[in-house]
């Protein structure tokens, strides 16, 4: 049986490696230099591939509710970070930290979701 030592001798370890890219597609349309908090009410939670989406109604400047579309990871990534398909229900009051769309449209990439009962769900880790 080959020893681990000889296996390791074959290792080629070199310069710094970039991390594997985000799955599915670039998140370049989101402005990751701006963190924005939204406060609103869940209208729909799409626990779907390739990415989960949170639809949330947020009061606009004129007082009328605006629907925001918030994109996150796939259910496979999120489930390994503690999410389940039932964690968000229509009507839930939430505070959500996002990177907003660069376009200024009501959308973004969600980072943290805080529910009224104190539970918090993170996209990553």
């Amino acid at each position: 049986m080959k020893t681990l030592g000889s296996a390791l001798l074959c290792l080629v370890l070199g310069v710094l490696a970039p991390l594997a890219a985000t799955a599915h597609h670039s998140f370049g349309m989101f402005d990751n230099t701006r963190e924005v908090w939204l406060e609103g009410t869940i209208s729909e939670f799409q626990w779907t591939n390739p990415h989960a989406w949170i639809q949330v109604m947020v009061a606009g400047d004129d007082g009328n509710a605006v629907e925001w579309s918030l994109e996150g990871g796939s259910p496979n990534i999120l489930s390994r970070n503690g999410w389940k398909r039932t964690v968000l229900q229509p009507g839930d009051k939430v505070r959500i930290l996002i990177y907003p769309l660069k376009s200024g449209e009501p959308g973004g990439s969600f980072l943290e979701v805080h529910k009224e009962d104190g539970t918090v769900y993170f996209y990553h880790g």
């Binding site: 074959c10 370890l13 594997a20 880790g125």
Partner: protein, 266 residues
């Protein structure tokens, strides 16, 4: 998963090899080295690295520790003809809105490094890899010493794979690709792409795969890359189709179709 075991590999800046050697001495060798059954995950994806470091996001300007593994090369390895193809594709891509995604299968070799896990199954004369990304499958034939004859070797995303054991190393030889897919870093390739993978044990719960990619038309030299995977006994492979609810697909103008897709058709 043994998280502690991986941290030295990631955090030791000066001597990753020393860190890995020390780590291996504490590890165990598999009881049956010809059995790689189980769920495996690339240790150095963004999500795995953030979780290991206890970070909740990659804030701008934050630099993550080096992995100790050499990154795959860029377009400098391409022949002039394929460098021109690379530039043309890049220009076409620039016409699309940021973040659009057509959901094409990723194919080899990207299916091996996509930031989702895969499962290895052993059956008589066969090693099968079931990937989470797009529920892809690679069948590696250990009971066949030759590739399919030319007239049966249909160009495909994942190619025709044959394998054998050299000691405790699983060596896999794959050819028979079409040119719809890209290599790492978006490099184009021809139908003459040929990939050799060597699956080696680092310890009973860690394998590394050494890839060598050759393409006489597209590459001026072989591309070599090593990727480390660890066993995830508590994970199950989930279904994944990129087409299920793709709100980022491009419309005819190359913009994100957007909307609230996930509607059941009437």
């Amino acid at each position: 998963m043994n998280t502690l075991r991986l941290i030295p590999l990631l955090l030791t800046l000066a001597s990753p090899l020393a860190a890995l050697a020390q780590d291996a001495e504490q590890g165990t060798y598999p009881a049956d080295p010809h059995d790689m059954s189980g769920v495996w995950m690339n240790d150095n994806t963004l999500d795995e690295t953030l979780r290991r470091l206890g970070l909740k996001r990659l804030a701008p300007g934050v630099t993550l520790p080096p992995t100790g593994l050499a990154p795959p090369p860029g377009p400098e390895v391409l022949t002039p003809e394929y460098k021109a193809i690379f530039e043309r594709r890049r220009a076409a891509q620039a016409q699309l809105a940021e973040g659009v995604e057509s959901c094409e299968w990723v194919g080899m070799p990207n299916v091996m490094t996509y930031p989702y896990p895969f499962e290895i199954l052993h059956t008589e004369g066969r090693v099968t890899l079931i990937f989470e990304v797009d529920s892809q499958v690679r069948r590696i034939f250990l009971d066949r010493a030759e590739h399919l004859p030319f007239d049966e070797l249909d160009p495909t995303y994942n190619g025709d794979s044959i394998g054998h054991w050299e000691g405790d190393t699983l060596v896999v030889d794959t050819t028979g690709f079409h040119a719809h897919t890209e290599l790492w870093n978006g490099l184009p390739h021809s139908e003459q792409l040929h990939i050799v993978e060597r699956f080696n044990w680092l310890d009973a719960d860690t394998i590394r795969v050494d890839f060598v990619l050759n393409d006489p038309l597209a590459l001026t030299r072989p591309i070599e890359r090593t990727v480390v995977y660890s066993r995830r006994s508590d994970w199950r492979i989930r279904e994944y189709s990129c087409l299920e609810n793709n709100r980022d697909s491009p419309d005819e103008a190359g913009q994100r179709v957007g909307g609230l897709v996930n509607q059941v058709p009437e």
